[in-house]
Symmetry: C2
Subunit: 497 residues, 2 copies
């Protein structure tokens, strides 16, 4: 059995290495690739994704998994080998249903679409993307249709990202959350919003970059095993436990943009960097679900990075970097500014309270697209209508409307958004558990120390990679299922009301 297991590991590693190579090509496309490279890049990505999929879903892997099943069950459930066999089985059963040709077609099409989006968004030209998006929708439906018997056509796509969830269960969580959030938003927006003028001065790029890098180094993001670059859309990508990269974009007229996106991506990246090195190169060497991943980005961005204690330590350093802009701004004003709640147009810049309403809009729209009750050509107006209804704001154009997020233009439609809100909820849950174990954490944060928190997260979450499904992990960490109260409590701090 040891030999069989070794054979399996070699086959899986090859599939994984091809997927990592594709991730490098993606990273390059979003950071440094010249415009002329788009056509050949789409082809290269398609080949890599198709081959990775072919290798992973080969009969040889299937046979080895069959043969190894009893052996896997004989090992302790949480051992690396049992987990590898178990998780490979889950993913194999899922991926074997999607033909490699469809994976290749999707890879090629989405790489091309991404390239068009990078030009169409600044040009505010949704029309140029319409036919691309129609094809993406068609391909997304074809992927979903590889899993007949679903309750809702989005279910298989949601399950890819957040194993164990489906449209109806996400809708239930969202309804519960909405019930609590809508009165909160109303109560907040009835008041004068906090003054955020201090953030909207001119902050030169270089110092912004330096400050963000200094903070995430202190968080524990390891630059020997990662780097930060600029990209139109901030993201995290991993090519192995030793190479986990983040990107950011800098707005010289809004200090919050780059800073909180850097803290956000560092959270994702610390999760990936914290995986047990023994799992490197295996399919267990990554975060376990979109929601759990997002819990870490939101934890380091919001729960820590927007807390008063954090700024007790860092605000003097920020003032020293931007003396002209901030010397007359007291900490309390700055703190209220970065926690200002106000319905707005852009998801990634949204405050913690309204953020989930942005997510719900996207989630509902992508379900409608998949169901066929909304046509792609009607999407821009549907977007505006929902923003008016839910948030009371309307973008002056599509650039800040339906074109703002990369997701639909660089991947499938469906399953890409619910993880953000699940992650918000989980960030509250996990942080509460960390505090129960180590009540000194908030004090340490006021001293710029993050070791206790980081170590707790590594021990309880990061090191496991994707050995456990999200429901299993939540159960292990909390002893129960997902619950929204800690998150709601955290978003109701006095400052925000």
């Amino acid at each position: 059995m040891e030999t069989k297991l070794q054979e399996l590991k070699i086959l899986l590693q090859e599939a994984n290495d091809l997927a990592s190579a594709a991730a490098v090509l993606n990273w390059d496309q979003e950071t440094y690739m010249p415009a002329g490279g788009g056509e050949s890049r789409a082809r290269q990505l398609a080949v890599l994704q198709r081959l990775s999929h072919e290798k992973f879903t080969s009969a040889a892997v299937g046979n080895l998994l069959d043969e190894l099943a009893p052996y896997g069950e004989s090992l302790p459930y949480d051992s690396d080998d049992a987990s590898l066999i178990r998780v490979a089985r889950q993913q194999y059963d899922r991926q074997v249903k999607v033909p490699s040709s469809l994976v290749g077609e999707l890879g090629s099409h989405t790489a091309q679409t991404y390239q068009v989006w990078t030009e169409a968004r600044p040009a505010n030209d949704f029309a140029r993307l319409q036919s691309y998006l129609e094809k993406t929708l068609d391909l997304s439906r074809r992927v979903a249709d590889c899993f007949p018997g679903y309750e809702h056509i989005a279910d298989p796509l949601i399950d890819f990202a957040d194993y164990g969830m489906k449209a109806s269960s996400v809708r239930q969580v969202f309804a519960d959350l909405r019930e609590q959030l809508v009165p909160l938003v109303s109560a907040i927006t009835a008041q004068e919003p906090a003054d955020n003028a201090c953030l909207l001065q001119h902050f030169p790029e270089e110092q912004q970059w330096t400050f963000g890098v200094d903070v995430i180094k202190q968080y524990g993001y390891d630059f020997k095993r990662g780097r930060q670059d600029k990209a139109p859309h901030p993201f995290t990508t991993s090519f192995g436990v030793g190479d986990v990269r983040i990107t950011t974009r800098i707005n010289e007229h809004d200090l919050g943009d780059a800073l909180f996106s850097t803290l956000h991506e560092a959270g994702h990246a610390m999760y990936e960097q914290g995986v047990n090195p023994a799992l490197d190169g295996t399919l267990l060497a990554g975060g376990t679900s979109a929601g759990v991943h997002e819990s870490q980005s939101r934890l380091w961005e919001n729960v820590v990075g927007r807390s008063r204690g954090f700024w007790v330590h860092f605000y003097p350093k920020l003032q020293a970097l931007f003396p002209e802009q901030l010397k007359n701004v007291p900490l309390s004003t700055f703190y209220r500014a970065i926690n200002r709640v106000e319905p707005s147009l852009i998801r990634v810049d949204a405050d913690e309270v309204t953020y989930n309403l942005h997510v719900m809009i996207r989630f509902d729209l992508e379900l409608a697209l998949l169901e066929g009750t909304l046509a792609v050509r009607d999407l821009p107006e549907a977007w505006h209508a929902r923003y008016e209804a839910d948030l009371g704001v309307r973008a002056p154009n599509d650039q800040d409307g339906v074109l703002q997020d990369v997701h639909w233009y660089g991947g499938i439609i469906g399953g890409g958004f619910q993880g953000y809100t699940l992650g918000n909820i989980l960030s509250g849950v996990f942080y509460q558990k960390a505090l129960e174990a180590h009540p000194a954490i908030p004090n340490e944060i006021t001293e710029g120390k993050f070791d206790t928190l980081h170590t707790w997260l590594k021990t309880n979450i990061y090191q496991h990679g994707s050995k456990f499904t999200a429901p299993e992990l939540i159960e292990r960490v909390t002893g129960g299922p997902l619950w929204i109260e800690p998150y709601i409590a955290a978003t109701c701090t006095e400052c925000r009301l």
Copy 2:
């Protein structure tokens, strides 16, 4: 036959796309990859190189080539399809002899070795590399031994890079050249060398970068289909006709370093960018041999970039960028400084006359390593001894001795150096042919215009990619074989004596 040809093209394109993906990963490794990424990168590269090789040498490709041979011969020799079938056959017959496992092992080993070299070179630590290099030598011999019947063990490796050449023919060319160069070097070094103090002032990085970029834009290097980054060792890499990148390194205390390396790499890159787009994604979409490739880098670096006419146009612009450093330096002094001939330690910084002596040392040493007449542990001292004998200089350490060039530390040993000198010789030949067709070229250069020369090169060399072997191309362009006289004549301009 059209269907068969289409099948062949799809298979070859897949192999080519995998090789291009590997090139992206290599580029990333040499430019941006954090140190922690080395281990997984080696694995990823090995998989890509092995799969590309497997795809290319598959029985399916062999059968299609057999079936298509008569069809290929029925088409005009220089048509794209005939050339594709013919060149694929040549390369197939060659590559099929090297097992994919060896290709994978070589890819993985050289990626690891490269990573060690990036640390060992600054630390002047050859000992750390010795066992790696011994394995490289072993692997290189194993590659050569896939081609039994050679006259010299280096012959197959030389033939990979410069088709049609072998150790004995290179030695003959080198002997002819040496006969002319040695007295030239003696005559020059008997005189006081030109004063190059003007180059050795402090020149801030940013302006150096700007100037280099401006020149190569004017040359015709297309930044929409390429980019320049910094790397420890300058190189050019292509991922397709639309994405051809260069790297440079900047020395703030020697103006010549980055400038001439930028012009050099731009020459390589313009060759790759100039390939007929119809060949993109095929195995014809690249330069035809190391020697012809080097002819283009040396042509734009030296024949053009060190000519008086070039500096008549550009020197005032350089002075404007560096007024303090250059305002009191007349053009004639600057021109003599950049053409100063002096035996020195570093190949890439060497003048045009002594450069070939550096190449010959490496060529002879790698032949001795392959023959087994020189052991890796004796290589550092053999290097020093040859530098003393041939150039009268001895490096104070290995960092500027045997560790200076990346070649042996990122690829095989053998076949990597002769192309530089063949390229020097060819740069003289091609430039002479361009002048015969367009005598106005030197005048245009004094006006900063390079269109006529660039267009002649595109028409006669670049567009063909590797449709023709180097000997075929030389015959097409010049009507005869390689000859060294134009190169010797060019290196004997009055300024240099």
